[in-house]
């Protein structure tokens, strides 16, 4: 593959190869302040390639693969090459990570204490993480939280924040100075625009934090809040983890320790302002 990008997000190194310059140029631009992988050695490889040679130029369509594969991942048009690269990186981490317990959660930190926000797609994880960053929290990630099985500490994965549909304008207003990627329309998840985490999030991305609160947010409901028992949090987090089963005993021990040591709350919210007030009151 002609075009290559090496970069580090949190503790994880990536090596991304592409048949086209476009996706790599977009990564070069948006990830320009990110370091290279430790020792130049990547933890994960991502391949962006054309299934047939002529599809590099003729209706180019970007296939996504890597060291760890799932059958029939759908290709994307070249105009969405940046999204393909992001999906490729996420997929490799989701399928291949063994060093940490992976939780599908956004995470922010203040004063060394990390707040994890987990929920289904559309619960508002990315939006809340970006808006909390605008209010002075350290963004640790909008997609994955990495829990060290030995210490219980949470490690950051501050990739580009993936904003969808209505959230794009909401966050652009809250962060007028921030850097954004191109607006990608007509993706499988609607309109997507990537937000570059602020300088502080990037500078501190290797510093872990002590988990202090687990939130299960839900968007589109009247404001409500209830405590979540460790047992319920445990079950919901096993479903939010892609590697809980493969980590076996290590995963079980890390997750039971997390839900017993850290309080959990479910919050329903009708709009972003309410959610921010609720999170900051609880944290």
């Amino acid at each position: 593959m002609r075009h290559l990008k090496l970069l580090r997000i949190g503790p994880l190194g990536f090596r991304i190869g592409s048949h086209w310059r476009g996706p790599i140029a977009a990564l070069d631009d948006l990830y320009r302040d990110y370091p290279a992988p430790l020792d130049g050695i990547a933890d994960f490889n991502v391949h962006l390639f054309a299934a047939r040679p002529w599809r590099r130029v003729l209706r180019p369509s970007v296939h996504i693969a890597g060291d760890f594969v799932i059958p029939d991942a759908a290709p994307l048009p070249l105009a969405q090459g940046l999204l393909a690269a992001e999906m490729g990186m996420n997929l490799q981490v989701a399928l291949g990570l063994r060093r940490y317990l992976l939780l599908h959660a956004a995470m922010v930190e203040r004063g060394g204490r990390a707040v994890l926000m987990t929920g289904i797609s559309g619960a508002g994880k990315s939006t809340l993480a970006a808006l909390l960053m605008a209010r002075g929290w350290r963004l640790m990630g909008d997609e994955f939280a990495l829990i060290d099985c030995a210490t219980g500490l949470a490690y950051a994965f501050p990739r580009l924040v993936s904003l969808k549909n209505e959230a794009i304008d909401v966050v652009a207003q809250a962060l007028p100075q921030a850097r954004f990627g191109p607006l990608l329309e007509g993706t499988p998840k609607g309109a997507i625009r990537h937000l570059v985490p602020d300088a502080r999030a990037i500078a501190a991305m290797e510093q872990p934090a002590e988990p202090s609160l687990i939130l299960f947010p839900r968007f589109g409901f009247e404001p409500a809040e209830r405590p979540v028992l460790p047992s319920e949090a445990f079950v919901r987090l096993t479903q939010a983890s892609t590697n809980y089963v493969t980590l076996a005993e290590r995963g079980f021990e890390a997750l039971t320790r997390l839900v017993q040591a850290v309080p959990s709350r479910a919050i329903d919210y009708p709009d972003a302002a309410t959610a921010l007030a609720m999170v900051e009151a609880l944290a």
Partner: protein
């Protein structure tokens, strides 16, 4: 350097990692993952001086392989319990057998599905017992199902509904349509009991099966891993009685080729009579080492040639034509 050859060099001489550049390390891990040899590589180089990022990958791979070994042995135990009521020997094959036998050179090996060998006349009872214990069919296609039952050396694969693990139940080690017909009764008769009542193949038969799997069946995809198995088994068991046993199963040619390729790729120590290089060996070597620095398979023409060969080995021409036509109409294309 061809990255597959780099991997082979590091496996045979781990200290050769000294002086690897970052791009070398990246290619090495990519190929090792592509060939399912990451755990093996990790065990070979663990403890040697290397960059911190490589050491983390080694630790991850060792932990991952260890978990895989535990899960594979548990799966064998589940099958043992499910089949305890059946009066027939149950022989573990391939990765699970190596793990159960504690063959140390194969530490770190990825273990895929559970493969077991049972007598052909017990296969219906075995199937019924596994279905009763929670295993289910994976191939609902009637053509595939009928094909397996009539022509293959194994049942259609079964997957466990709770644990999501697959079991392949064999009654011999090559398809019934192949020209070579290994002596399945002898495989069972000479198998060796483990403490828990499950069995493993005799030493020579373990090697015969590995050689049959790699050179008398299949298209050599992932062949570096299978050849590494053979290299390690030869180192552990030696060559005593091997030629005779392989000849008995009709696997003399496959066994000799396996040894020659292992000598070439991994520097296996072999008596002079087993060494040499025939006209086709270079092509096999090219197929085995067809990987780029991303761990992706290359040499598409060689690959296609071996794909066709794998089918030609498996069935006579008329049957092959009918089979490929049926599969093509169903939308199957060679990878």
């Amino acid at each position: 350097m061809n990255p597959a050859l780099l991997l082979a060099r590091v496996l045979r001489a781990p200290s050769s990692i000294e002086g690897l550049t970052a791009p070398d390390w990246n290619a090495l891990w990519a190929v090792a993952r592509g060939e399912q040899l990451a755990g093996t590589l990790a065990h070979r180089i663990a403890g040697l001086p290397m960059p911190q990022a490589a050491r983390r990958l080694v630790e991850d791979s060792i932990a991952s392989a260890e978990q895989g070994r535990t899960a594979a042995l548990w799966e064998a135990e589940m099958a043992r319990r499910a089949l305890a009521g059946i009066d027939a020997p149950v022989v573990l094959l391939k990765g699970t057998a190596y793990a159960a036998a504690g063959l140390s050179p194969l530490t770190g090996r990825v273990i895929g599905d559970l493969d077991i060998l049972v007598p052909r006349d017990a296969i219906e009872d075995v199937e019924a017992a596994l279905l009763a214990a929670g295993w289910e069919w994976v191939k609902p296609d009637p053509y595939d199902d009928a094909y397996y039952r009539r022509w293959m050396h194994e049942l259609p694969p079964l997957i466990h509904r709770d644990r999501d693990k697959m079991v392949d139940v064999h009654h011999t080690i090559l398809p019934l349509t192949a020209r070579i017909r290994p002596d399945a009764a002898a495989l069972l008769a000479d198998s060796v009991a483990l403490e828990n009542g499950l069995r493993i193949l005799s030493r020579q038969d373990m090697l015969c099966h590995a050689a049959a799997h790699l050179f008398a069946d299949g298209d050599l995809a992932g062949g570096m891993r299978n050849l590494w198995d053979i290299h390690c088994l030869l180192g552990e068991f030696g060559f005593d009685g091997l030629a005779e046993r392989a000849a008995h199963h009709g696997l003399g040619t496959a066994m000799r080729r396996a040894v020659r390729q292992a000598v070439r790729l991994y520097g296996t120590e072999a008596p002079p009579a087993w060494q040499g290089w025939d006209m086709l060996d270079p092509l096999f070597h090219r197929r085995l080492t067809a990987r780029d620095v991303w761990g992706r398979s290359t040499r598409k023409a060689v690959q296609l040639g071996f794909y066709l060969r794998s089918h030609a080995l498996r069935m006579p021409p008329a049957m092959l034509a009918r089979h490929l036509w049926t599969k093509w109409r169903k939308g199957h294309r060679p990878a």
